[in-house]
Symmetry: C2
Subunit: 360 residues, 2 copies
């Protein structure tokens, strides 16, 4: 649909007929389908697409409608990339690292072990080369991307047994999201498994897995993992800040008039900011309840983090040889991250660490 026909359909006929402004609830001139990789039960992440859809509607006075379909309703969770690429749907809401198996570079738009925290990711995406580099890469899949939420640093998952050292990961059957952390955990000796969130509880209960990571206190508590696994470790070093993205078919986007393009960008920005704020508002109470229910909330021992860091660096070096796109984007990301780590050591870290020691 080109700009002229989009606007002509946007209730202009009724303006011509009545001389009045188009009604907000007029038939939308542009209707898109959004395929989410997430179930409705994951209200935090799935909800990002709903925030987006509502914002698009409000900003366009109803001229532009985006109908959100939960995972599996139109398209299976992990088929949304193909669906956007082929134009079956105009857009998706997903975690880019789900497509690590297609090309390692997808993970860089989402989260890599020992990568950015949420705020640093925003800096790279908005004022570094991040978004441009990712969209250059995504162009090979006929899509462009907008940030659509961040979880913040996730927790490190639920374990049947206490983690005393690196050797505890040897042979551990662990449910993990995303192929990159799977590569790193495999290098540490674990058996990386994937399964939908809804199957984790039963698998832990039946001891068919030894450990599982999902998201953080709010999402994890809803699935009741504390009832079947006593140990809850932090941090999720593979997700210092998981960015969710809106993937949009380039042809569909190009067909939008300029104002609706701007509306897509702004609505995504609203959804992006909303998700992290929602997580930060909801996680503290959930974590308190988990602690009160006698969950053992423990930091990974430092030797575990050190071993994971070394394993991650080995996987990254291997990825440099596997994917030229990974190599190019990763080099830029690392340079930017080096500066972020330098800068955050000063005012930000000192302020946060002082505050974390206060009783207020």
């Amino acid at each position: 649909m080109n700009r002229r026909s989009a606007l002509r359909n946007a209730g202009i006929a009724s303006v011509l007929a009545t001389g009045l402004a188009p009604a907000v609830h007029a038939q939308a001139a542009v209707r898109w389908r959004l395929a989410s990789s997430f179930p409705k039960s994951l209200d935090t992440i799935y909800g990002g697409a709903e925030v987006f859809s509502k914002a698009v509607n409000a900003l366009s006075a109803g001229r532009f409608e985006v109908v959100v379909h939960a995972a599996g309703a139109l398209v299976p969770a992990f088929d949304v990339l193909d669906a956007v690429q082929s134009g079956t749907v105009e857009m998706a809401h997903t975690a880019p690292y789900y497509f690590y198996g297609r090309n390692q570079a997808f993970a860089l738009g989402s989260a890599i072990p020992f990568g950015f925290n949420a705020r640093q990711m925003n800096a790279w995406m908005l004022h570094g080369n991040g978004r441009r580099l990712m969209d250059d890469f995504y162009a090979g899949y006929n899509l462009l991307s907008f940030a659509g939420g961040n979880t913040g640093t996730q927790m490190g998952g639920w374990y049947l047994k206490e983690i005393r050292g690196v050797s505890d990961f040897k042979g551990m059957r662990m449910r993990l999201g995303g192929g990159l952390v799977g590569d790193v955990m495999t290098r540490m000796g674990a058996v990386a498994l994937d399964m939908p969130g809804g199957e984790i509880y039963q698998a832990l209960h039946q001891r068919s897995i030894d450990a599982a990571e999902w998201v953080g206190p709010y999402d994890d508590q809803k699935l009741g993992f504390n009832k079947v696994a006593p140990y809850y470790y932090y941090p999720g070093w593979w997700e210092g800040g998981l960015e969710l993205d809106f993937f949009i078919n380039r042809k569909a986007f190009a067909a939008l008039p300029a104002d609706l393009k701007a509306i897509v960008n702004a609505a995504a920005s609203l959804a992006h900011a909303d998700m992290l704020a929602k997580y930060d508002a909801l996680n503290p109470n959930a974590l308190k309840q988990l602690v009160m229910a006698r969950t053992k909330v423990l930091p990974f021992p430092l030797p575990v983090l050190d071993a994971a860091f070394r394993a991650a660096m080995e996987v990254f070096a291997q990825n440099d040889t596997r994917s030229p796109e990974w190599k190019r984007i990763y080099a830029d990301m690392r340079n930017f991250q080096r500066d972020q780590i330098f800068w955050f050591r000063f005012a930000e870290a000192r302020f946060d660490s002082f505050m974390s020691a206060q009783r207020i």
Copy 2:
């Protein structure tokens, strides 16, 4: 201007005449004036209003224009509150804590010593009671607010002499932004002074002040403070995350049609996110250059932070007796902050502190 007339003027006449969509550069139906409290030279913070204005224009296809006026062009920097309240201008871009002298509660919408970091402030504003409580208070000034940027944790300023302990603040003449940190510094024995950013260099050079705080590496380096003061301390414990706001006259906002109201909200959100990302992208290199130019970048000694924390708590208790609005909003803010500090101690702090120790 009501919704109908706003839209009727929005190029609808040309639609009726030609049957074509309104041109993007048609005469704007709604024109607002924005008075900034900041000079153009402060491109980071002043730039937030420009990001907002461009977004409003793009999102509305030119139907809504917001003309940005730098501090002093229409209205002096600190008169923007009166100007919005009276309707002289429809909106302003400012730091709410500039109006602490009117009512202590203004500071809570901006930054208080040992308050939120940028991310926690977003959580309180978007998913806590923050925005609602502030807007209830701002209603007494005929205005409502939208977040319009955050600087992140600022640096603690430039000093002629090394800070060895709390006693070094006794009699220190220090340029400070905002009345609340002035109250706290006064309690620590300092002489709190205010002056525009453009006068700080000369005052330090002439030794008419002993210290001055401004923002952080990028903004501070541009003003050349390192050439006249050797010591640069961190963190700026009075600004763990300074939120800038858009103040909007309630009557002007109420007169907007629903889509333009949504556009104001979305454009503010874009400006808000952009500023922090811009600071994080620009500050590292500026700090590196300052270090290379032999600036002594040092953390405040812990006893100084402890004394400042105690002094701040005393001022806050006094504010409870001075302003019922402060008392009500502060109580809510503190409860929310207590939970944030609890939550951030786990995944987020552990991840960031591990990363800050890595060589990547």
